[in-house]
């Protein structure tokens, strides 16, 4: 018998390359393990959901000039390309992607400016309602 269904909720607050990987590495592992994952993209994290956002994510601050070098290093080490990891994770199922409604207002974004993988635009109360009975909650 498999273990009962579990749930993980992550707030994705950062939009830099180094912090864009972990939510999807965790969501991929969770999804493969029949664990439902809910990703709530807010503030800088929302930049990732803009069309072309995952492709243009850079390392933070001064390190941003080394982004290309880091991407090459990751490729050689067998890491998936970020956009590809997102695609494969969503295709597998069990992962839900939400955009923060307040951040969308702040950045003047509409749902059609975001990638089609975004399931819903949500407020904090809706996300809390999901997270309150989650087994794992993270802020990245």
């Amino acid at each position: 018998m498999s273990k009962p269904a579990k749930k993980m909720c992550i707030i994705v607050h950062s939009g830099t390359l180094d912090k864009a990987y972990p939510p999807f590495m965790l969501a991929a592992a969770a999804g493969a393990s029949d664990i439902e994952t809910h990703l709530f993209f807010t503030f800088w994290g929302l930049n990732l959901l803009k069309k072309g956002g995952f492709e243009s994510a850079k390392l933070p601050g001064m390190m941003s000039i080394g982004t290309g070098m880091m991407k090459n290093k990751m490729k050689k080490a067998g890491f998936p390309d970020l956009k590809d990891l997102v695609k494969q994770t969503v295709e597998m199922g069990n992962t839900h992607i939400y955009a923060c409604s307040a951040t969308m207002e702040l950045m003047g974004l509409k749902k059609e400016d975001l990638i089609p993988e975004v399931e819903k635009v949500l407020g904090a109360a809706a996300f809390i309602d999901m997270a309150v009975d989650a087994d794992v909650t993270l802020f990245i």
Binding site: M1, S2, K3, M25, L26, A28, A29, G31, A32, S33, D34, I35, A77, G78, F79, P80, Q88, T89, M92
Partner: protein, 78 residues
């Protein structure tokens, strides 16, 4: 039911979490009771595969260490 794998999945060179992700997708393409063979160079896979199998209700029949990679035999149980 035969105890030999019906499919082989070569994840050598793939970094975590790709081996588990690919295994999940591949196991859904074989029948219940059939066996999938996975090859992985990821050292984390030694701990990942037993836990993954238990979590998802599949059966890890065998783990074998080869020269620089591991071979996992997984029976799809549901």
């Amino acid at each position: 039911m035969s105890e030999s794998p019906v499919k082989k999945l070569d994840c050598r060179g793939d970094q975590c979490p790709l081996p588990i992700l690919k295994t999940k997708k591949e196991i859904q393409t074989i029948g219940i009771g059939e066996i999938l063979e996975v090859w992985s160079t990821d050292p984390g896979s030694k701990e990942d595969f037993p836990r993954w199998a238990e979590r998802t209700g599949n059966q890890l029949l065998k783990v074998e260490e080869k020269n620089g990679y591991w071979v996992y035999l997984i029976k799809r149980m549901k």
